[in-house]
Symmetry: C2
Subunit: 327 residues, 2 copies
């Protein structure tokens, strides 16, 4: 049997064999030509019952919120402004009618709030659990588009958004641990960093960007591979929030491991030219009222090096794969 990583690799290889790089295969979203100045950006993400969510702890209004935002996060990662969405639903016949109503009201309401037009989709019955497939389309000036393959050695690596809280929240949900509501909220109602993505898109000195959905470490390694660079990460920069720290203490988890490998953060990972970084970080804080996390630098070496207070350290890495490791 193949692992999820092997299956994904196989599909990506098949895609690479046909699709020209200009269309953004392998990035968070694909580019559709629009005009000389502007491109459409399009992405589709699947949410599959018992692979990405469990109905036992997802309220319908949370699940529809999440279905939209995991897709919006891909547009944010490209620097695009979301405009349209198509919603595909495959619904088990025994799903409660009220549940479906609430799911749809939530989805429609969140589209309105985000000023996104729901323009179509497909609905079918399912014999095998609930499948949600949204396709989102946004727009960006070509000059503002960000890709994951444009980082250069010697640039600052930084993150916008919380790290590790969703990963810890997922453990709490899976293990049925009571309390820890704000960690659980990170899993149940993630907020795509739409405005941040648009803002970073406009910053010329941001050289590469992607969203962190499978954990910082694995997504960083994807950015490095796409850009043919390495990275040096200083672990002391990864300071757990009080909420994360408290949850980890309660559940016996390592906060650093959550921040490095916990999935579902929907934070943004960027590389920024070093000279311009201080000004940009200051401007970001003024605009968004929270700070970027400066996690390290890109390097010429094609590997990822971890340091603790400047000294080389190692880290036993277990890739995130949703529910698998939680038993």
């Amino acid at each position: 049997m193949l692992s999820e990583a092997e299956i994904i690799k196989k599909v990506q290889q098949a895609m690479n064999s046909v699709a020209a790089g200009v269309y953004g295969i392998g990035d968070d979203a694909a580019i559709l030509p629009l005009n000389d100045m502007t491109s459409y950006v399009i992405s589709k993400d699947l949410l599959v019952e018992d692979t990405h969510f469990r109905l036992r702890y997802f309220e319908p209004e949370n699940l529809s919120h999440k279905a939209l935002h995991v897709n919006l996060s891909d547009l944010a990662a490209m620097g695009a402004t979301p405009q349209f969405v198509l919603l595909g639903l495959s619904i088990p016949q025994d799903l409660d009618q009220g549940w479906i109503d609430t799911f749809l009201e939530g989805f429609v309401g969140e589209c309105k709030k985000q000023e996104i037009s729901l323009i179509g989709g497909d609905t079918t019955l399912s014999q095998h659990g609930l499948f949600i497939s949204a396709t989102v389309i946004g727009q960006a000036q070509k000059a503002h588009l960000k890709f994951r393959n444009r980082a250069q050695p010697g640039e600052i690596l930084c993150v916008a958004g919380p790290l590790g809280e969703a990963g810890a929240g997922l453990v709490a949900l899976e293990k049925g641990i009571s309390g820890l509501e704000s960690l659980k909220e990170r899993v149940l109602r993630p907020e795509a960093l739409i405005q941040e993505g648009i803002w970073f898109g406009k910053q010329q000195k941001v050289t590469a960007m992607m969203d962190i959905s499978d954990g910082l470490y694995i997504d960083l390694s994807r950015l490095c591979q796409a850009s043919c660079v390495g990275a040096s990460i200083e672990l002391s920069t990864l300071k757990p929030s009080p909420t994360l720290l408290e949850g980890c203490q309660q559940m016996g988890l390592d906060p650093l491991e959550c921040m490095l490998t916990g999935g579902e953060d929907y934070a943004l990972l960027m590389t920024i030219e070093a000279d311009d970084y201080p000004t940009l970080a200051k401007d970001f804080k003024e605009r968004f009222e929270y700070s970027l996390i400066t996690i390290g630098k890109t390097t010429k070496n094609h590997s990822i090096i971890l340091t603790q207070d400047g000294l080389l350290t190692s880290f036993a890495y277990t890739p995130f794969s949703h529910f698998k490791e939680l038993g």
Copy 2:
């Protein structure tokens, strides 16, 4: 429990509550603005294991062909030329590696053949069967776009493509009847009428168009409802092909019922201004080397009337819903 029709209706109501009609909600595909002359057309269709297909009789190369063509049929119905596709796959972990390889090779090969760029997608594991979600994007001159809500009373109703063969083929596959390969082929490898759709798009006198995926009768009633017209259908125009006739005799099916209610035809249903119909039908036959089926006329009355040799007749209608009626 809700029926598939009720669930679909509910989702469409939710969509109608937010989406402006200009974007084509309720049509085969949605419109994305491109420029003054041209629009993108976008559609997504789901193919769900044991709702739309069964792995026991779908070879992987047939299933990937079908996944592409059911989506392309939606573009054909709008008069659009397909350009791009995104492929979403949720794959059960126990699916054979060779199966996945063949599926992907088939998909990629068919994209190449159709000159469509595979630009992205999403791949995940599934705990609940195979789920395929493709999003296709095409382009059409605005003046060539066809919708299902533009028919007027007194126009000719006609069909391009085979009727009923897929419906009969599905019965043969479900019941495990040997032989009848060409009927089964209609289910296993449907061919979207892409060139026909583009050609009809350019014909100004074609007033409305849609694809027939759930059976002529139900899809005709959708076109009538969208256009606020009725229809009078002459049943003697629905002549079963020798292949259909033979299969129906073998399986004890009514060929007329197959042609009226069998799903998965992926034929095109059009309304055409009456004065221009003879010339258009002649041009079509010269171009495509088969004839349009003239099935009746649109009427002012909002109901669908069936006649047999000009005399009113009735028909006990059972809507198509894939595997449900086959037990």
